[in-house]
């Protein structure tokens, strides 16, 4: 059994009891799922995406299975920041573990108003800023595509938010290292690398793209090697902590992310099919530490980068 200290990770302004974080868009606000028993092994949770105003999300097909993974096109369905604070925050806070409010980077005005609403409420430890969304004030590309627009997004959020600020990158950027450096320079406390990978599916019975928006985000074990590569690149570019996210489905995957330089991992799609995954990752990491005679999980971070 793992001791509390060996799994403990101080990271980006938060103190995690384990390096396993539930990614945004996964865990529903069903009271029973927030009990300590159902969250065994979970170091922190990211809420489902929160935007200033409620969003109904996308119409039509929203999920599509792929080999060892899935595509999703949910469309950030949520009931808005006010509803989050009134209806769901008490439940999230009641879980008694660190959490991050996953905030959609919308227009400058919207994100400022959202952060102002979050800042009025005590006890929100951190924001995870999702810069995969389009900059509707700018060129319509996702905020996280270029270093310049990513810097602008973080500058806006940083000026409003005094708590811990993590920034979740999009792997669609052709310049991830540049984006990561810009995010670090603007004062982010940690980087989450990354998010779903744009893909698509064709419904061959209907002879039409499966999704109304044509493209959708790919996640699950299929993307793990891609995500591991981006984590390696980003960890080589910045000094702030990096959280590895993408296809983690086992303790071995989590270990690989840590060895590549990540300080923790986020789990998403794999949690859809295995509730026990966080506990299993912690158990596997603990056994690995013992076998490798390494004192704590922090000692794994970046170990694979040494000659």
């Amino acid at each position: 059994m793992s001791s509390r200290t060996e799994m403990h990770v101080p990271l980006g302004g938060l103190n995690l009891e384990s390096p396993v974080i539930i990614a945004s868009g996964v865990w529903p606000y069903e009271a029973e799922l927030w009990s300590p028993e159902r969250l065994e092994g979970v170091g922190a949770l990211c809420t489902k995406a929160v935007s200033l105003n409620g969003r109904a999300g996308n119409k039509g097909v929203r999920v599509w299975e792929t080999p060892c993974g899935m595509l999703n096109s949910i469309g950030l369905q949520n009931s808005g920041v006010r509803s989050f604070l009134d209806d769901y925050l008490p439940l999230v806070r009641g879980a008694n573990r660190p959490f991050l409010v996953n905030l959609v980077m919308e227009s400058e005005r919207e994100v400022r108003e959202s952060i102002a609403a979050l800042a009025e409420v005590p006890g929100i430890p951190a924001i995870e800023l999702n810069i995969s969304c389009p900059n509707v004030d700018g060129d319509g590309m996702a905020w996280g595509i270029s270093a310049e627009s990513a810097a602008k997004a973080v500058r806006i959020a940083r000026s409003e938010w005094k708590g811990a600020l993590w920034v979740k990158l999009t792997p669609q950027s052709p310049d991830l290292a540049g984006v990561a450096k810009a995010v670090e320079a603007e004062g982010a406390d940690a980087i989450v690398c990354g998010n779903t990978w744009l893909g698509m599916a064709m419904d061959i019975k209907k002879k039409r793209p499966a999704f109304q928006r044509v493209v959708a985000g790919l996640s699950g074990p299929a993307v793990f090697p891609l995500a591991l590569r981006t984590v390696w690149q980003v960890c080589g570019a910045v000094k702030i902590p990096v959280v590895g996210c993408g296809g983690v489905a086992s303790w071995e995957d989590a270990t690989a992310m840590l060895l590549a330089g990540a300080s923790a991992v986020e789990v998403g799609a794999a949690l859809f099919i295995d509730f026990e995954l966080p506990r299993k990752i912690v158990a596997g990491l603990s056994a690995y530490l013992a076998e490798q005679k390494i004192d704590s999980v922090s000692g794994l971070t970046g170990l694979g980068r040494h000659e």
């Binding site: 069903e30 029973e32 929203r62 999920v63 099919i273």
Partner: protein, 267 residues
């Protein structure tokens, strides 16, 4: 926003037996006391017949029967996941998550049960209705009407006759039972103190809602949807309702025909 029962759990379970019904359909029985003792008609389980994440997601299948620590599911092979499921034999392992959602009973809230229930199903949509008939008692069932595609469903149709004595059977091509759909076996006006409980393809349920436009509150449908998690997390399975988007998995799968916005509901 909470589910009817408690949040589902994952279980590693053993196949207690399987019975092919011909042409790729069949019944599979699974030993799982936790699910068998808690399940109600209309609830479903997510079944993972594969290994090593392939196929990746669970398959949502309605509970067709549950007693004595064993629950049954009805399947029709439509892809690799159901093909794997069909290949399972007694003693094989399966990972099952459940029971999930609000069934025909718990979704009613405080609404008392009607005097009589008409059951209407399309193909494997018969599963929750079979379970419902057992729980209601046949004395409460005013009639059973089932539809299948036709050729290729003969074995399945035989099983339907065996499971629902007196079933009115219809097929699209007329090769099994009477040519027509399950709706043809229902009265044109819904009698007083009677409800219709239905499960089947979306087109059939939409037509059912249209058949009783002013009695939608007495038509209860168990819906199917693509879904990833079966715990309310992914929001992949939402349907448009008068109260906004609702998740088929944990807000349903049983809804009244009245609350579903059928015209906005994509096929």
């Amino acid at each position: 926003m909470s589910c009817g029962g408690s949040a589902p759990r994952d279980y590693e379970a053993k196949v207690a037996g399987s019975r092919a019904l011909g042409d790729g359909s069949g019944l599979i029985a699974v030993e799982c006391e936790a699910i068998a003792s808690a399940a109600e008609p209309g609830q479903f389980v997510m079944v993972r017949p594969g290994s090593c994440g392939d196929p990746f997601l669970g398959r949502p299948l309605a509970v067709a029967a549950a007693s004595g620590g064993i629950f049954k599911m009805l399947y029709r092979v439509v892809g690799r996941g159901t093909e794997l499921l069909a290949s399972k034999r007694q003693g094989d392992s399966l990972v099952v998550r459940g029971p999930i959602g609000r069934g025909f009973f718990s979704s009613r809230g405080d609404t008392p049960l009607p005097k009589k229930v008409l059951l209407a199903g399309g193909s494997v949509g018969a599963a929750p209705l079979l379970f419902a008939a057992r729980r209601l008692g046949m004395a409460k069932v005013a009639g059973v009407s089932m539809g299948v595609a036709g050729r290729g469903w003969e074995g399945f149709a035989e099983w339907l006759k065996e499971s629902f004595p007196g079933v009115a059977l219809f097929s699209d091509d007329g090769s099994v039972g009477t040519k027509g759909t399950a709706l043809d076996g229902l009265p044109s006006e819904l009698p007083a103190d009677t409800e219709v409980w239905a499960c089947g393809p979306q087109g059939m349920l939409r037509a059912l809602a249209a058949k009783y436009p002013s009695d939608g509150a007495r038509v209860r449908v168990a819906l199917e949807s693509r879904m990833a998690c079966g715990m309310g997390g992914c929001l992949g399975c939402v349907i448009p309702t008068a109260r906004g988007n609702r998740r088929v998995c944990v807000d349903g799968p049983v809804f009244t025909a009245e609350e579903v916005l059928w015209n906005e509901f994509a096929d």
